[in-house]
């Protein structure tokens, strides 16, 4: 099953696209696993996710921690710390 990944701000700019559908390989259970796997997908991902600790993640439009399981996620968004308000 495909999962939709969405990127914002400099994560989007560095990866070079606003979103994509990916087939997650077996063994990707948590957000941290996802970030590790994405980072290995090429230079642009490596650049965007160089410091995974600063990347904020939302599953189905709700903030989650990196230890969160991603089972059941339709939509996973990756973005830098927010600067609204």
């Amino acid at each position: 099953m495909a999962t939709k990944l969405i990127y914002f701000a400099w994560v989007r700019e560095r990866i070079g696209k606003p979103e994509e559908d990916v087939e997650l390989p077996a063994g990707i259970e948590t957000v941290a696993d996802l970030l590790r796997w994405l980072k290995s997908r090429g230079e642009e991902y490596e650049h965007a996710l160089q410091y995974p600790d600063v990347i904020r993640v939302a599953i189905n439009q709700e903030h989650v921690e990196h230890r969160e399981k991603i089972a059941g996620a339709r939509e996973i968004a990756l973005f830098p710390p927010m600067t609204g308000g």
Partner: protein, 159 residues
Amino acid sequence: MSGVVVPVVRIQREDFDVAAEIARLTEGRADIGAVVTFCGLCRDEQGRLSALELEHYPGMAEAEIARIAGEAIERWPLQGLTVIHRHGKVRPGENIVLVVTASAHRQAAFEAANFLMDYLKSRAPFWKKEHHADGSAGGWVDAKEIDDKAAGRWKAPSK
């Protein structure tokens, strides 16, 4: 009192009208004693900036602000609550964000507005990119640790 307070939440490109938003909460009622508004404006940083560009996560931005607004309504005796956040390009001197809180009592209105701004800064999915006045490439605004700390001060020890 007219029972449950339903917050007004809007994400929009256009500017907002503070007086109209105050009137929307207060008109036709006589039980509101205090209205606090907070407007966040775009600064030019001593002439360095020509604009800020606000990116947001459509869908989640509305949902997250509604969650924060709901928390404010649980914590303070509010009679009305409005949050409007703009997206797109905003020029120096223009409005970015508006919070309006209405209550019978002033401390509730002040505290809820302050809380909402702290939470918007640290949890609402918006990102600001600077456009430089001299035409050089601008970058993304860094999140300030102070904003996270400001949000943290609202955490009750019992929670």
